[in-house]
Amino acid sequence: MTLESLEKTAAEGPPPESPATAGEPTLPEPPPSAEKRFLRYGMMPHMLCPGCGHGIVFEAMLRALSSRYEQLDDIAFVAGIGCSSRVVGYVDACTLHTTHGRPLTFATGLKLARPELKVVVVTGDGDGLSIGGNHLIHAARRNVDLTCVLFNNEIYGMTGGQLAPTTIPGAYTSTSPQGNAETPFDAARLVEAAGATYVARAQSYRTREFEEVFLQALDHRGFSFVEVMTDCTEYFGRTNRLGNGADLLFSQARVEPAIDADLAGRSTLQEVPPRPVRPVLEMGVLHESSRPTLDQAMKLSGAGS
């Protein structure tokens, strides 16, 4: 097939705008924000979906860290598997992207091996509460001196939007097409009951409050746990027809129904409310106490081996 005639026709269209000049900002550009110095530029842009709440929380984490640290040489970030866990790969620090559900086991070993290292574990609701639920409660019980941030988006994003142990009743996922019949975990209360000595909850919508509790968690001696509610746009939002990233973000504040009203009629479950509403979760610091950390109890020094 010859294309000459086609090209001619195609060329008659309006000249395409070069993306580089679109919008034409006339102002000089501001410098990158301080927290960007912690990014591995070689790995950016990150792999999260458009509008993903994890990205917002991730940057908030970096922003909080940038208020404390010049470089992240003495912090190790340990993560499991899932959308949330992938974010550690973008941090210019010692980062360990482990297996599904097990980041706290690696982190426990690492912390005991080098007590002088600060260890931050990033996990998700599936990673931390489902496959890794056992490790979560045991790490809390042991009061391992680390900070665990659990990104709770109520769904399995990486694998395609399946039911999570945090999905609220009635919500639609790819493996709960009739609406979720199960009761979700309250992660923060679970971890508190297991013995965590600092427990807080925050939202991707209120990044400043997240930064505040994250910094408190970093300062805390012992197992500190921050659950942060974030939004899965591609799966949770789409499957329950809740709109785009901005819609989801604002809906966090408004405590809106967790599924589109029109979809609710589709439910075949009798026991769940027809229009499930996200529970009003208590935010902020939920629990704080003090007892010896695991490395203290083991009398390990920070000298390393």
Binding site: R40, G42, M43, Q71, L72, D73, D74, A76, V78, V88, G89, D92, A93, C94, T95, L96, H97, T98, T99, R102, L104, T105, F106, A107, T108, G109, L110, K111, L112, A113, R114, E116, L117, N134, H135, H138, M298, K299, L300, S301, A303, G304, S305
Partner: protein, 382 residues
């Protein structure tokens, strides 16, 4: 140096301490628990770490975390726990994190025979983790060898940055023998491969040295880098570049080759042997006795005793199996290593494995009887 009468599992723990092990995480399971119990007493007074984790998955995770933190780290378990550790063993192979796993084998599958000997984990050690995972597995045949091969396991793990499994059965684990607890020399301890340059933004943690071993630093030593169980490039960043992935897998396999020379097989009366017994672990002891029995009867038998299961000592196996008229692989399973020998042996050799998976050790008489019967049938010329 004087000999001490100690149990196989104790010899293992002593070997680990001699090898500089400073981190143990484990979960109780028969017949390996004595290793954990002894290290729970011995490690903390040395400023080292012992922790009993919530399960074997967690134990292996903690071992890897500690290893990345710079410790010589190990765990000990038995078949069911070894199964749970497989995912993390795969992780350790790909991420090149040194660690030692002791598997005191018991009868399986499933809970099986918790306190009976078996050699059923040979293939699990090789293929238990998904994907093409290269690995090292050692098989001591005596309490003394448990001690020395545990030290060797640490040396191989650290210098080649790989998980090393030490497989022995319940009988060796619980048996007491006289052991000489010789302190290893610095060479026998080995040194962990680590970077030769200071950290810079262009630092490549997964760039291999001349031996194909990645020069990964420990965490918290001024190097900032990424470790992942995803296929990665030399920066440690995830990649799905087909060529890079293939190269990585090839390197991970190739870098383990030195293990073959490091742990050579033991040859017993092989020079003129027409009947070759091949055995490892506890069975190699009875096989050696069987050779003597057969020799007394005029049958020219010999034994190749291997202490390395993986990577396969292929050259030695090929050589002895092709030169013999009858090859008998004796093992306490349904024929796991025998399959490997079958692949290597030539067409002219008769292969007749002697297999026993009932929970007791193959005796010398059983083995000699097997050979005797075959020679009577004219399979091998005595």
């Amino acid at each position: 140096m004087s000999q001490q009468l100690i149990q196989g599992n104790e010899a293992c723990a002593r070997g680990a301490l001699a090898a500089g092990c400073s981190f143990f995480a484990g979960y109780p399971i028969s017949p390996s628990s004595e290793i954990a119990e002894l290290l729970a007493r011995e490690l903390p007074p040395r400023g080292s770490v012992f922790i009993q984790m919530e399960d074997e998955i967690a134990s292996m995770g903690a071992v890897l975390g500690a290893s990345l933190g710079g410790r010589r780290a190990m765990t000990a378990t038995s078949g069911p726990g070894f199964t749970l550790m497989q995912e993390h063993l795969g992780y350790a192979s790909l991420a090149e994190i040194p660690c030692v796993v002791i598997d005191v084998m018991r009868g399986g599958p499933s809970t099986g025979l918790p306190t009976s000997p078996a050699q059923g984990d040979v293939m699990q050690a090789r293929w238990g983790s998904h994907g093409d995972r290269a690995t090292i597995a050692l098989a001591p045949g005596s309490v003394q060898e448990v001690y020395s091969l545990t030290i060797e396991a640490f040396r191989l793990a650290e210098t080649l940055r790989t998980p090393v499994a030490v497989l022995y059965d319940e009988v060796i684990g619980h048996m007491r023998e006289g052991v000489e607890l010789r302190e290893p020399t610095p060479d026998e301890l080995g040194r962990r491969t680590s970077p030769r340059t200071a950290f810079s933004p262009t630092f490549l943690p997964y760039a291999p040295d001349e031996n194909g071993v990645a020069m990964v630093p420990d965490f918290g030593r001024g190097y900032r880098f990424h470790v992942t169980g995803l296929m990665h490039d030399e920066r440690g960043y995830p990649t799905s570049d087909n060529a890079k992935v293939a190269e990585l897998l090839e390197r991970l396999e190739r870098k383990l080759e030195p293990a073959v020379a490091a742990v050579p097989p033991e040859r017993y009366r092989l020079d003129d042997a027409s009947v070759v017994l091949i055995a490892y672990g506890i069975v190699a002891r009875t096989a050696r006795a069987a050779v003597d029995v057969l020799r007394r009867e005029g049958i020219r038998a010999g034994l190749l005793r291997t202490r390395l299961l993986w990577p396969l000592p292929a050259a030695a196996l090929t050589e002895v199996s092709r030169s013999a008229e009858l090859v008998v692989v004796a093992e306490m399973n349904r024929g796991q290593w025998a399959l490997e020998v079958e692949r290597l042996a030539g067409d002219t050799t008769v292969l007749s494995p002697y297999l026993k998976a009932g929970g007791s050790v193959i005796t010398a008489e059983e083995l000699a009887g097997h050979v005797r019967r075959l020679t009577r049938e004219g399979v091998a010329v005595s």
